[in-house]
């Protein structure tokens, strides 16, 4: 066997409360405003749980765990709007010998218009000097530095003694200071990080951790900025919303107005809750004020917001083409390097797009590709050469990974269609549509059942296009899928992404269709380009998802008489939930057709591994 990836450092899972619970009284956090989206504080009590576990990781491994965390954080934060970032941003690194141990919560400061994630780099503080007055100093120059919770016995007692409120207040103050400092300048992440580290006021100069962190940041070198940027792009759910000043700041910095959503479902509080409808006119009005955002990117953002562009491939291609335009018009400001500045700019565009609509996984992968290409630019290239090289890279990515990949998928999948088949498909997937049309071109005799569901009713468009080409189609609603499944011979499904444990992450309803097909022993064929694969593992549809507009659930188009839910917002015990994605377990999937060929769901991590290796050589 070839050498596999080196094993990653194990990161303790954060304990986070998910589920039905009553939000604790917010009064204890000395802020008297109830922010619209609240992150339940119990997740911070788990911080303390972490503190008590004594790691004995030495700085060298701290080194790699810094970088490992970074890359782990970066990749997942970019791609999932609500990643497990409590886990991400917490990491345990031992201090130097003099101290019993230290917890370094490392997260990288963000630039751009998105509120800061969690904590910043910290370093080790000696037990003796550990005191709460330390943390009460609000102004730590360029950044908050140490949130070191020592693990010696006395500190343990101290932790227990101190109230959550105090610690929270301290963190808020530090973050406010840091955010204020950062709001001044959009510097490259590297400089900010070093700036933070250097200006940190700790009783004990955090040389060791400083060096390791800086060394780590420089060691990873080119990768670093992109990872940090990705961390910057971790959206709202990671933000502390209970502090009024932070919410204000976030609102000011936010490009898109987020109206406060009402009646949020408890289980999904960790996901960004948006109301899309009101944002469009706001955004249009702000166009001339938003200098930093390139017009193409702005246009794409608008299209996302209004729903004009939907579907994984379309969104991804639109975004990449917008970036192409942005790069074409880009000029390096004086005194800056192209690599870092362009990366920062792309990150700011990405944050803007996230605000319009959370990223899909394929878009995240594409952004990661773009940033790695930027990072790999040789320094000897001139500006125009770099720009053309990047543009051609993007062009090649779109062509090879999407357009050509689709052709390969179609050729493979068409071999699975025989005469006399009854094929079922759900929703509207571009890959499946291409397969069906191609099979029809080849003269195969088959029938298609299109299953659709509210509120999006995307199947209707697919149905129209198929019928135009002369295919025999049946159209039904997802309620009838178990009724019709006994006649079906194959099920073709598209995917927004396939995760490492073989789970298929696709439009909501896909899991139900796959489950029914499995129960009827009908093979389920998932068609997905390889660039949509991700190394993450997800076990359910709750921990990471996207919420859509709940209002569309309450209205049925063409049926004005069905208006019972018109006043749903006023009912206190009624919540409407509109999920966009769901996760299909790998047991229900028979085969995944990719541009790498036809693989079983268990081989997805192999493809992810090969794919990332291949990326290096592009």
């Amino acid at each position: 066997m070839d050498a596999r990836r080196p094993p990653r450092a194990v990161i303790d899972p954060k304990v986070r409360t998910v589920g039905f619970f009553t939000p604790p009284d917010p009064i204890q956090f000395d802020s008297n405003s109830l922010s619209p989206v609240m992150i339940p504080p119990p997740c911070h009590s788990s911080e303390n749980l972490d503190l008590h576990s004594p790691p004995s990781v030495t700085p060298p491994s701290g080194d790699e765990s810094v970088s490992v965390t970074g890359s782990y954080n970066g990749s997942s934060s970019e791609l999932f709007p609500a990643p497990m970032s409590p886990a991400l941003s917490q990491k345990i690194v031992a201090g130097d010998g003099g101290v019993g141990g230290g917890i370094v919560a490392s997260s990288f400061p963000r630039g751009g218009g998105v509120p800061v994630c969690k904590l910043t780099t910290v370093s080790v503080v000696n037990t003796d000097s550990f005191a709460f007055d330390e943390r009460d100093k609000p102004n730590k120059g360029g950044g908050s530095s140490m949130e070191v919770k020592d693990q010696a016995m006395n500190s343990k007692q101290k932790n227990e003694k101190s109230s959550k409120a105090e610690r929270r207040a301290l963190q808020e103050a530090q973050r406010a200071a840091k955010a204020a400092a950062k709001a001044e300048g959009n510097k490259a992440t590297g400089t900010v990080t070093s700036g933070n580290l250097k200006s940190a006021k700790a009783t004990k100069p955090p040389q060791k951790v400083d060096n390791t962190s800086v060394a780590a940041s420089e060691k990873k070198g080119v990768d670093r900025p992109s990872e940090k940027d990705r961390k910057k792009d971790v959206p709202h759910p990671r933000m502390q919303y209970d502090d009024k000043s932070r919410v204000e700041k976030a609102k000011r910095r936010a490009v898109v107005n987020h109206t406060e959503s009402r009646n949020r479902v408890e289980l999904f509080r960790h996901l960004p809750q948006y109301e899309h409808g009101s944002q469009l006119p706001d955004l249009e009005a702000k166009f001339f004020q938003l200098e930093p955002v390139h017009p193409s990117v702005y246009k794409v953002g608008l299209q996302y917001l209004s729903g004009d562009i939907s579907g994984g491939n379309a969104r991804c291609i639109a975004m990449l083409q917008a970036f192409q335009d942005a790069i074409k018009d880009y000029t390096v400001p004086p005194e800056k390097t192209l690599v870092r500045d362009l990366t920062a700019k792309i990150s700011s565009y990405v944050s803007f797009l996230i605000e319009c609509r959370p990223l899909s996984i394929s878009m995240g992968n594409a952004i990661r590709f773009l940033k790695s290409q930027i990072a790999k630019l040789p320094l000897t290239l001139s500006e125009s050469e770099s720009k053309t090289s990047l543009q051609s890279d993007i062009e090649r990515f779109i062509y090879e990974k999407i357009i050509l990949a689709d052709k390969v998928i179609v050729e493979h999948a068409v071999t699975k269609i025989r005469d006399g088949d009854v094929l079922l498909t759900y929703g509207s997937s571009s890959a499946v549509e291409m397969i069906l049309l191609r099979a029809h071109e080849l003269g195969k005799q088959f029938q298609v059942v299109v299953v659709d569901s509210r509120p999006s009713l995307k199947g209707k468009l697919l149905l129209r296009r198929l019928v135009e080409k002369g295919l025999t189609c049946t159209y039904t609603h997802i309620n009838a899928v178990s009724f019709i499944m006994h006649e079906v011979t194959r099920v073709f499904l598209g995917a927004s992404s396939v995760l490492s444990n073989g789970t298929v992450y696709s439009g909501v309803g896909t899991a139900s269709v796959a489950m029914v097909a499995h129960a009827f022993h009908v093979p389920v064929i998932v068609c997905c380009e390889a660039f949509k694969f991700h190394e993450r593992v997800q076990l359910d549809s709750i921990c990471s998802n996207e919420l859509g507009d709940p209002d569309v659930i309450s209205k049925v188009s063409g049926r004005g008489d069905v208006n019972h839910l018109d006043a749903w917002a006023n009912a206190e015990n009624l919540q409407l939930l509109n999920l966009i994605y769901d996760a299909t377990p790998s047991d229900y999937v028979s085969i995944i057709v990719t541009d790498y060929g036809m693989i079983p769901p268990t081989s997805v991590p192999v493809v992810v591994r090969e794919y990332s290796r291949e990326q290096v050589w592009i």
Partner: protein
Amino acid sequence: METEAPSMENPKISAYYQTRLAHFGVVSTEWLAQAQSATNPNPPLPSSSTNSHTDKDTNFSVIDEFNRWRNHPDLAEAVAAIRALAAVISASKASTMMQLEIELKNASDTLKAWDTTSISLTAASDLFMRYVTRTSALEFEDFNSAKARLIERADKFGEISYKARKIIGMLSQDFIFDGCTILVHGFSRVVFEVLKLAAHNKKRFRVFCTEGRPDRTGLRLSNDLAKLDVPVKLVIDSAVAYTMDEVDMVLVGADGVVESGGIINMMGTYQIALVAKSMNKPVYVAAESYKFARHYPLDQKDLAPALRPVDFGVPIPSKVEVECSARDYTPPQYLTLLFTDLGVLTPSVVSDELIQLYL
């Protein structure tokens, strides 16, 4: 009582199975006649002549070479193919790498065309091509050294394949414990090797052999096992569920291992696997790694048909159809482990290996 000999002109009758029959089936007079005609290499291939790009004097034909190797009953067909292809390289008079590769490809296509239904043949040829040509030696400037390297790799692959059975035998010994009862189906030389080695290691076990209609290869296997002093019990195919209680494990070979991790084997394997799974008995498959093929069947009908005539012993009216497929597909969820020369693997590893080799 003479039966009607099925038409030999039916092109779908698998030569592979007829060969196996010739080697292992219980020979009866009517079968003998068919076997004689079946084993005559009469592939209607125009490409056997294209094989010799080289000197017409030697007129090297890969099919001849293949048959020479194949006639040895102990040698797996796929290994014979591999040896034949290796011989192609040695005998090749090409002077550039490109030419050599083309020659090799043609030889491989010829072999595959000899019997399109044989999965292991196709798989072995493909794997051989990938293994041999996937070397940086091809970038050497000196053609002769590159060719020498190719020959070296080809021989190595041949050796591995030849020794595969021994390796599998050794790996499976741990799974056969004293006092166990093993159910086997069909006559697989690999499985026989495993059992032979276990008997040699003085393990106490007994074997249930299914009859294996229509080949009745089970009879041959039980003969061979009895010679090794292994207690054997013959069961008819329908009695598998009845006897499954007493069985500790099922051990089968494979004609081909497909990308999903499932296996293609003699008709009846799927049935046995289903029964075993429902009674929680492990199903072990002993297969060499050159049998890993890039097929991915979704159900039984997804395979290329391989038919063999079935003799019922009495004349069947022509109105009555006979299911004469020779093999079936067992999906991976019914298999517990694969014993291969790469190690003891779970079914999902097959795709890993194939991806690594083909990408």
